[in-house]
Amino acid sequence: MRRWVLVAANAAAVFVALLVVWQAIIWIFRVAPYMLPPPLAVAKAAESRLPLLLNALSLTAAEAAGGLVASVVVGIAIALFFARSRWVRRMLYPYTLLLQTVPIIAIAPLILMWVGAGMPAVTLIAFIISLAPIIANVTEGLISVDRNLVHLFLMHNASPAQLLFKLRLPHAVPALFVGVRIASGLAVIGAITGELYAGSSRVGEGGLGYSILYASTQLQTDYLFALVAAATVLGFAFVFLVMILEWYFLRRWHESARTLETD
């Protein structure tokens, strides 16, 4: 427990130091507030538009979560298919890399054409951008099982279902969490980027991405900063939640859970 408190105290100290530096820069260089608003102005902007901000935050959170859940479900299904044969992997694996390398900005107009602007389009973008790490990690987890363990199961006439549910899937769980951790950050980035291009454009209905775009055109730099902070917190919350889940499921047996443990 003591280590946690120490970590939290360190983080808070760094945060305060950053605020001080920020304020100092404004004083020393006389930066105009529309270029770099002081920390207090940002807090005030956030407070005065709080319902709007929370609305945008919850919409983006829902889109990112929807995309992430879809990519976990679909990613596991695809990985199960990939794990079946080396030939399938050789043929199809390069295409999962395409998923990772395709610029989301380039396909956003297509998605806009296909499903129209709004929440479904943004969720789809979050899904596409977070799918690849799930597929890659779960596939690796499913196929990297010790040969002798497979032999052991076969010696007891294990059925394909027993091999899957009692050996391959549990073995892939740590790798799944590595994938989900990466994907959770990407899903939030995907949702925000997606909103820039395919978000609802009606005022007061857009998510964080749309609001950022709107605030920048209106030169509401203080609110823009508040939105960026909210987006950062959202991404962090996603990754943190996944790490908590990871610790919970792996704490008894896997080394990766140890790094989160207090000692």
Partner: protein, 258 residues
Amino acid sequence: MSAAEVAVPMVELFGVSKQFGKGPAVLSPLDLEIQKGEFVTLLGPSGCGKSTLLKLIAGLTTPTSGTIRVDGLTPKNAREVLAFIFQDPTLLPWRNVLENVCLGLELEHVTRERRVRRAGELLELVRLEQVARVYPRELSGGMKMRVSIARALATNPRLLLMDEPFAALDEMARDRFNEEILRLREEQKWTAVFVTHSVAEAVFLSTRIIVLAPNPGRVHAIFPVELGIPRTAALRSTPEFDLMAARVSRALRGAIAA
């Protein structure tokens, strides 16, 4: 054991050879008969095909030529009779000790109540009842190996195949495990086929030692070990033991040179 049961050998190999793909032969045609109650050790340098021979008997790989019978059946049909102990403990890290020992019974659809009772008995037998709820990462190498042995014995095998199970342990631990394995065999009367590099281990454990020569794997020499049963740690310091070990060592050197 009735006379009819004794009549069927535990393991029979008729002209068994093995070759992986188009590579060199791993095993040249081999005939071998192992009777029920024997403790046969396959001893030989690397590349003599001793592990392959074990996998063939277990039905984990198929011979290029020849036939194999385990208790009169094909290896795949004889799997209920068989158990395998690997060099690594190969435990499932997400299961605690008790659940690991239950694995074989679980795969064979034994009811939960019966398999927990059986696993409990086995843990007592290998003196691990204290750590039944502990996960493998908390155990020492020796304890993991005990769990692996308990898991293999849980399904009540009549033929135990062991592929250098104690190779990773230090010599003291290995000696203790050798005594332990003989004690378990006294209680449970299984037949054993054991693979090792160690002459002392082979002499201490076996009723018969088969020395294999490499490239391709073939039988170089066979030694019946008549040192009486049961055996205790004291056997290792008798002249008979040293004599036997010396003879086997000489044969092993010959096998490497051959």
